[in-house]
Every structure is written in C-alpha cells, then in structure tokens.
Amino acid sequence: MTSRAIDVDTKRSLINRRLFLRGVGGLTLAAPFLGSLHEARGATSTPPKRLVVFYTHNGCLTNRWFPKVENGSLKASDLTGTLAPLASFTNKLLIPRGFRSMNQFGSGQSIDPHDQACGSKLTCAPLNDDANRYPKAESLDHTIAKLINPNKAAPLVLSVGAASTKIKEIISFSSANTAFPANVNPKTVFNALTFGAGTPTPTTPGSPMTPEVDYRVKRGQSVIDLVRSDLSRLQKQKMSGADQRRIQDWLDLLRDTEVGVGGVGSSGSGSTSTPVACSSETASNLGVTSSALTAASPTGKITPGVFDGGGAPTGSEADKNLATSFTAGGDMMMNLVALNMICDANRVLVLMYPGYVVFNWDGITDTTDHHAISHRTGSIIVTGKCLPGVLDHIDRIDRWYAGKFAKLVGLLDGIQEGGGTLLDSTATLWLPELSDGAAHNLNNLPILIAGSAGGYLKQGAAVNVEGAPIGGGNSDNSCQDGSNKGDTGSTAGNVPINKLYVTLMNAVGCRDNGAKITKFGVMDGRDATPGITNPGEVAALTSSG
C-alpha cells in the first residue's frame, strides 16, 4: 500500500502536461557544430540522445525494491514493491541486475565507504587518500559530454540541498582530483538558458518573454567583444597549459553564445540553430515561470549535510530552505532538466539528492538524517539498537525517491518529440550510491533505466547480466523484530558497472573514430593496477541483444 505521504500523481502529469514541441515536427534543426565523435544527423533527423542521471544515497531495502523477475520481460504487475509508482512506465524500463560499482576495500585502504562509493561511482577510479578524497580520473558525465554535447559543453550537474564540495556529496569530476560540484539554485540554472546581455528573465507568470530588441543583441555582442579582447591579451602571456586551457574554455563560451552561431537559448533573433521549441512559452508550459522559480529557490542559506549524526530540524530559515529545495526545488530542477534538453543546451544531465539530511517534508517527519536511518540504528554506527520502526522509516524514504524518479520519468514521457517522447531519446538512469545502507555493499546495485536512448536499449525487461540467480539481497534481515542482526548485505551480482557505462556511452552515440566504445574507467575490480579486465558493453541490454 502506497504511503499517503507520497503524493506523486504521475498520470496527472501526463495528461496536463502533454507538450508538443512546435516547429518542424518539433525537430531540432541541424546544429552547425558537430563534435567529431558525434553521429551525423540530417535536417529531418531524429532527436539527439541524452543521458540523465538521477542519483540517491544510502541504499534502500533491496528486497522491497527489486521486482521478483530478474531476467525476462516485465509487466506493470511486476512492479508492486517500492517501484510501484513506476508501474505505468514498465514498457519503457530496463532493470539491469547484477552490477557492482567500484571501491577499494580489501586492498588496505580505509577510506570511508561513502567516500569511495561517491568518488568511484562515475569514475571507476581509485581515490586520493588525502583530505579531499577526490578520484584520480574524470567522471562519466564529463567523458560523454565531451563526445556528444553541443560545443562540448560541460555536463549539467544539479543537486537539491546545499552546495557542497565534500566527497560524500559529489559524483561529478571534471578531471582527476578536480571536483565539479553541483549547482543548487534553480534560478541560476534557468538564467543560463535565457542569458544574453539584456535579455530579461520572465517577469510575470506565464507571460512570454519580451521579444528580442535590436539593442540587446548589439549589447550582447559588445560584451562578447570586450571580454574577448581581455582574454586575448591574456592569451599572449606565457602561461601554463592548464591556464591556457582555462582561457580557451572562456573564449569558446563566448563564441558559442554569439548571435546566430550554434548558440544556446534565445540569445539572438532569427537564430537558425536554436530549437524552435526553446521558448518562454515552453518554459511556462513546463511550469518554469518567475513566481514558480522564486518559490522553488532558496531565500538564503540551506542547512548543509550532517555527517556526525544528530541535527533534528529546528524550523530555522535554513531548514525551511532545505525542505523547499528537496520538494519544489527538486521538481523545478526536473523541469529545468527537460528545458535544457528541449533547448539542446545539454545532453548529459545529472540530478542528485544528498543523503545526509533529515527528512521533514511531504508528510515525513524524521528526527535524524537519512544516512543514520539507513544504518538501522539512527546513528553513524551500524551496531547497537535498532531505531524503533526503522524499516518503515527507510521504506517511506525509498518510496519517496521512487515517486520522485517516477515524476521525472513522467515529465519526460509527457513531452512529445518527433515520433516519440523526450524520454525515448534518453537513457534516464536511477543510479544508487549503495545497495544496502547498513551493509554499504556495492554489489547487486538497484539500478533502473527509463528510456531506450533512441531505440538502442532493451525496454520492458529485467536483464540479469551475471547469468546466475542473484536474489533480492538481505535488507529485511535485520530489525524486523527490533533486534539488530547485522547482516543486511549480500554477495552475488558482481559484474563491473564499467560495462553498463560502456553500453550507455554507445547508446547515447559516443564513438571512437566511428567505432563503438569498448571500455571506460581506470579499474573494474578493487585494484587499479590491472586496469580494465572485462571490457565491452553488455549486448543483452541492447534492443538487439
């Protein structure tokens, strides 16, 4: 029975928000810039493919999350547990079973399992054993962005909650040892879509943007010229390679935003390369209006993550901002994810929900944070007394997240694009930090993919990539009767997640000199030295496999 606290009516969002992207069948007109590794597209082309990553922390009650079917086609009636909110999308889901992400326990390192889970998750690389514990390689979102994004723009990495540079709250890394922290203010994200000197953000709900006026265009160009000459002066200086790249990055941004040249958003009137559907009307239809943005954005500080346990909400402004951020804020971020795709501003989009917060919204009133609850004890250690009713506590958070993922999927599936929906062009991945939050295990990860990435991925199926029965894990093993039995982990399901990433890279169109990608990451075991021992995508996950 779905808890009343979770009120996600995905069907309603389908009906009210069916958007038809206008213009030539809503198709993106051919972009003048084609990254050398991006598939060529014609003028009446299929929509670009996108990767969307929805990331949650602290594992889940795996027994209740996994459908019973481990390998075979899925029906809506198979999604009865935690994933019930996704039942109506079953025919567009792919549940890969048996993947394990990387960590280094077992090779003598004692880095916190959460640091390893986050740092290695999208990098498949070891971490630096220093104060920051950042990984030694860039993350998948950046790798893919360089290959498929217009102008090789950096991926769009968003989070709810407070901005953070802590390893437990970062999964994106623009290069080795360099964190790419998420943006957390919806207004900042929206502004990036409507920028251009003088172009205002919407001032009244639902009103279309002021039509481009000549002076704004000229002003925008003047800004670009001035900044460009400042950067050119810098380019003439003797500087390190890294600094030269920084200058070039900025120059590239200027070029990208120049009127009529592969720009994003509506920075120029009559720009022929901006998708027609990228308009304030579309934004409005998606619910991205001035008042909605304000209501979804923080008024000031947001309560940051709590790592030492404790910290029940006090009703402070920071706590209120946290609640807003997780609810209206996260929903607005989803709208902005959709808008970024519609505007083709980004094809690699990450939305993260941090794990060290005390749930105090949507009918859930916890007094300790999600991380502590996931330990079963309500504290930062996993031994000791079970928190009373802890399995129910975890369950309702798990369902809340399933509801949010369903909301995202429903939103994308409600937008018609070409002959299908926006969802169809994507691989929208629910990627978890851990399997079970108390065991901190990374095998048998509860992963869900929605969308076929333009027909590449299998749909309506669970696929066991390991080949032998895996089982649903043992999350329900402990605290059923109030006693902390401890072992909520499991052992099966150890195919390296690198292979899933390779499959996804190929699905969204990454190629290496025309050939499919065959490997990703630094390691696919617990030891970096052998490198990638099991390359290749997983054919069984593809529509032809």
Binding site: L193, S222, V223, M239, D249, L253
Partner: protein, 585 residues
C-alpha cells in the same frame, strides 16, 4: 592536510618498517617510529606525502631541502588566473560598491546566484550567472543614491565624466591601472551608447559600463602575470599583484584606497614596506572577521557540525540546555579573538590562557555562581584546571557523547587537528564496535574506552596517539564540567597519560589537563600544524608539500617565546614565497 603517508588508517599489522605507505594506494600501517623526524630522514618520495608536522622534505616544486629552517622556500605552482571564489566575490562587491544583497533577489547575497565554486574552466552556467548578477548589481547601484557614488561621482551626461569614471573605477575594479587599449575599448562602448541601451540615456550607459566591468576577466580573475625575474630566477610579483595578494589574504577582498596608492607609488617592493601595510590591514575589522573565520575552520565549527548539533541528556546534566549551544560556540570564538587581538597573545596563550567568557546561563557548567555573571558572555578568568581553548565548554561539549565524555572524539581532534598527526580513518567496522558495559573492573569511562581499543588492530593509533589526550581530558564530563570521580560508580578518575605530541619524540607523561596543554603548547607539532593551516587558509589552497619550508620557518619563529599570533599572520606576507610565483606545468 596530506593525511596520506604516515599512519594509513591503522589497518593490518603495525610495526612493519619495510612497508612504506607511499602515499596513494598504499596499504598497511606504518609503525609510529617510521614517521620520520623533523630532519626528514625518511626520505620517502611518496607523492602527496609530507607537508605535515614531521617536516618531511617536499617532493615537488622548488626543490626545497627537507626539514630545518635552512630550507629554500618554494611556491607551489598554481594557476595565474584563479577566479574569485564566491565568498571573495561577495566581499569584493561589498567593498567596491557597498552591495551586500541583491534587491532584485530579495536581498540574497550576490553569490547565491553564481555557479558553485569549482577549479575547472568556466562553464556555460557559470558565465551566464556572472552576467545576470553583474546586471542586477549595476542596476541596483545606479538606482541607489547611497551606492551610486562608489561607482560614479560626476554627471554622466556632462563632459568626460564617463571616460573619467572608466579610468578611476577601472583602476579599482581591475586592481591595477587600465592600459590605453583597455580604456579605448571602454570609450568605444561609451561612443556606441545610444545603440546599446534602451534609450541612450547617460545613466543607462553608466549602468552598462559597470556591468561590463563586473564581467571582465580582469575583475573576475586574480591575475598574476608579470614576467620579471629576480637574480635567483624567480618570477617577481608586481606591486599591484602584491597589493591584491595582501588584500585577499588578510581581508578576503579587494585592496582599499591606501593599499592602491601604495601600489601606484611602488611602495610594495620590500619586505618592510609590505610589513607596514600588513600591520595596518590587520587593524581593520575586515581582518578581524577573516581571523575569526580562520579559527572557526581550525576548530571545525560550522552549520550542522558537531558544534551545532551538540546535545546532552538534560536529566543527567540539568545545567545543559540545547539553547545554550550558541553561547558555547560564541565563547570559543570570543576566546580566540581576545587572545589574538585583545591580548596580542601567542600560540601558547591559546593553549594556556585562563581567560573565559561566561554568562549566568553558562556559569553552572563551569561550576561558577551564576549570580556573579550577567546575561551576556563576559570576560573572566578560570582556575588552573582550565588552560586554553581545549578546556572551554564549547569544545568539550561538542566532542562528547550524549551522556558521557568521549576520549576518542576529544583525543582524535587533538591528534589530527591540533597536533597534525595524520592518523587517517578507522578501519572498516571499527566505529561500530560497542563500548563495553561498566563493571567492577571497568568502573570508569576511561577503563571502558581502554578496553574497547586494546585490540591489535586498534592499539597502534589509539594507545599512542588518540586515547592519551582524551584520557587526560576525562577531568571534564560530557558537558564540560570538572569532575574527579566517575558519576555512576564513584571511582576516582585517572587523568594521567603518556601523550605523544611529536611522533619523532618520546611520549610525555602528563597527570591531567594542565600538563597536557603545557605539553601541546610547547610542542613543535602543534605550532607547525597551526602555521600550516594558516598558510593554507591565507593562500586559498590545500596544504601542499611545496609550502613545507614556509611552514617550517613560521613554526621555528613560533617556538621562540613572545612571538604573537598577529606577528605570525603578518609574517605570512614576509616569506619570500609571498613575493614570487612559479608556473604550473
């Protein structure tokens, strides 16, 4: 801190001298005796190692000689064009233009709309954010008579006002004079004014100019470009670059008029000239804020940290209330401020002073009579059992369990944060171990923790490093009140311990908190750690092996008696590393 090398999490076997931890990827523990002395004899070439109290020779950049104060200071190569951090952006805009909140965003700080700080190249989101915020600020400044004068002080429609403003404001915004070409570029904007503003009105052109300054790379990046070498072949910063470094180091913000004039007059070339400015700047409230922020970070204070989430059983400790938590933090902040500025004290004073700030509400926790205090925290002196910040209520309360003190929390803080010994993280599962119940044998908190951490896997870190300082602080219960007997059992509390303050030297026997603080105060480790944290904070970079020599020189000064904290902070500007730079590969 580079926690890598020395004690890698105390896993596995200890006392294995042949297993170098070798920085990243290293397994196994290193016996404490292998940590290498201050003379850097261990000679490990582990990447990323060193740079902590052991004074091991830095392995990168500048070829310093390990240990001692005869080392050659080097400068870690960093970017020559670092962008202002969001905090620096807010303070710079506050000091240049008087803007502290965006009226267009209900008073939110300007940086709340900027992209999150990141060290990579500027992104699309970052660039659009700068433009949006620049426009908001410019509109706000022009519209507000109390702010407008900070940008333009003449009538924009009259004569050469706009051109003159470009020159005068540009000097401040770019933290250097504009070149002829740059002025010409802005003059061209003025000339085009009617085409690129709604109505061509002079005030609109003025607003546009301001927003353009605020999105210029020369404003947003703290450039260090001058290409002049000294006789030793180091690249020497220009006066303007020195001024900017001083201002961002001591104020976290842009230079003021006086500093700008000193730069214009080439008065920032010698150490003495720089020292004069540094001293002046330390007297400004902006420096006081910066020092306060440093001490908060040194103590790991902040929203949602242990300090904020302090909570204790008020049935067991009726004098403790949750609403005192703010006051407990404030007392420690006032302590650091008072010792640094009020008393012009030394590092040792931080560890030894009996100054405290007590109110009638917090007095009972100190065992003092509330009637002798007011509602506000006011200065007083405590007895000989209360030397320094580690015996103040804030730290003791934050680093305790709910109903009992925690020698591990307190000891680990002292070991890692104060002494800079890199003990790393506990091995997997360690923090889950349950404290043994009290019994006839285990009749004090100390004995229970001792039993908990006696195993082979634990003793390496706990016996020598973590537990001893924690045991010495068992004189203070969970809420920081002095105690001599265990509450539940009446057993006498033993606060003697053998504390390792310097891994290269023998343990020091202390009988309680006073002797513990005296040992820490005297130690080289604690001073080097404090200096290292300052170097890192002041330069805005993680502690780097290339800074090891600078840290060592400062630590050596701190070992001399009477060397004040203010002198330490000004001396950050006196190291040769302050005036030179190196190039990143």
């Amino acid at each position: 801190m580079a926690a890598a090398a020395l004690i890698a999490g105390c896993t596995g076997s200890i006392g294995d001298p042949s297993s170098e931890s070798a920085g990243a990827g290293g397994g196994g523990a290193i016996a404490p005796s292998n940590l290498g002395g201050r003379t850097g004899t261990s000679g490990s070439s582990a990447t990323g190692s060193g740079g902590t109290t052991a004074g091991r020779g830095p392995t990168s950049a500048g070829g310093s000689v390990a240990g001692g104060t005869n080392c050659t200071p080097s400068v870690p190569p960093t970017s020559q064009i670092p962008r202002l951090t969001n905090d620096e952006y807010d303070r710079t805009v506050r000091d240049l233009l008087g803007v502290t909140g965006l009226t267009a965003q209900n008073g939110a700080a300007p940086s709340s709309l900027l992209a999150t700080d990141q060290a990579g190249g500027l992104t699309n989101v970052g660039w659009s954010a700068y433009k949006t915020v620049a426009e908001d600020i410019a509109a706000q400044v022009i519209a507000d008579p109390s702010l407008k004068g900070k940008f333009i002080s003449c009538d924009p429609g009259v004569g050469t006002c706009l051109h003159d403003t470009v020159v005068s404001f540009g000097r401040k915004a770019f933290r250097r004079p504009l070149s002829k070409d740059e002025v010409a570029g802005f003059d061209a904007i003025i000339a085009k004014g009617s085409e690129i503003t709604p109505k061509g009105a002079p005030s609109e052109v003025a607003e546009l100019l301001l927003s353009m300054f605020l999105v210029s790379p020369s404003f947003l990046q703290r450039e260090e470009l001058i290409d002049v070498s000294d006789s030793a072949g180091h690249l020497v910063l220009s006066s303007y670059e020195v001024a900017a470094r001083l201002a961002y180091m001591l104020w976290g913000s842009t230079p003021d008029e006086t500093l700008n004039r000193a730069a214009d007059d080439q008065q920032l070339k010698t150490s003495e000239q720089i020292l004069q400015q540094a001293r002046r700047m330390l007297g400004d409230p902006k420096a006081r804020d910066r020092v306060a922020a440093f001490h908060r970070s040194y103590m790991l204070m902040g929203t949602n940290t242990r300090w904020d989430n302090t909570n204790h059983d008020s049935l067991l400790f009726p004098a403790f209330k949750r609403d005192l938590v703010g006051a407990l933090q404030k007392e420690t902040e006032m302590f650091f401020d008072n010792i640094t500025f009020g008393k012009r004290g030394t590092f040792e004073d931080l560890l030894l002073s009996s100054v405290a700030f007590v109110s009638s509400a917090t007095a009972p926790l100190y065992g003092l009579d509330p009637a002798k205090f007011t509602a506000n925290l006011s200065e007083t002196n405590l007895d000989a059992n209360h030397p320094g910040f580690l015996t103040r209520l804030g730290f003791l309360n934050a680093y305790s369990g709910y109903d009992a003190a925690s020698p591990i929390l307190r000891g680990a803080f002292i070991t890692k944060q104060v002494l800079g010994v890199p003990i790393g993280a506990p091995p997997p599962g360690a923090s889950d171990a349950r404290l043994p119940d009290a019994s006839a044998d285990l009749n004090t908190n100390r004995k229970r923790y001792d039993a908990l951490t006696s195993g082979a896997q634990c003793a390496g870190c706990h016996k020598s490093f973590i537990n001893p300082p924690g045991f010495a602080l068992e004189s203070f219960n969970a809420v920081g009140s002095f105690q001599t007997t265990e509450r539940d059992t009446g057993a006498r509390i033993d606060t003697s311990a053998d504390v390792t303050v310097d891994p290269a030297e023998a343990a020091i026997h202390v009988t309680g908190p006073a002797e513990l603080m005296a040992a820490i105060a005297r130690s080289h480790s604690a001073k080097a750690q404090y200096a290292s944290k300052w170097v890192s904070y002041a330069t805005g970079r993680d502690s780097d092996p290339g800074d090891a020599c600078t840290v060592e020189q400062l630590a050596a000064k701190m070992m001399a008696s009477g060397y004040t904290l203010l002198e330490l902070i000004t001396d950050l500007s006196q190291t040769p590393a302050f005036r030179i730079r190196t190039v990143e590969p």
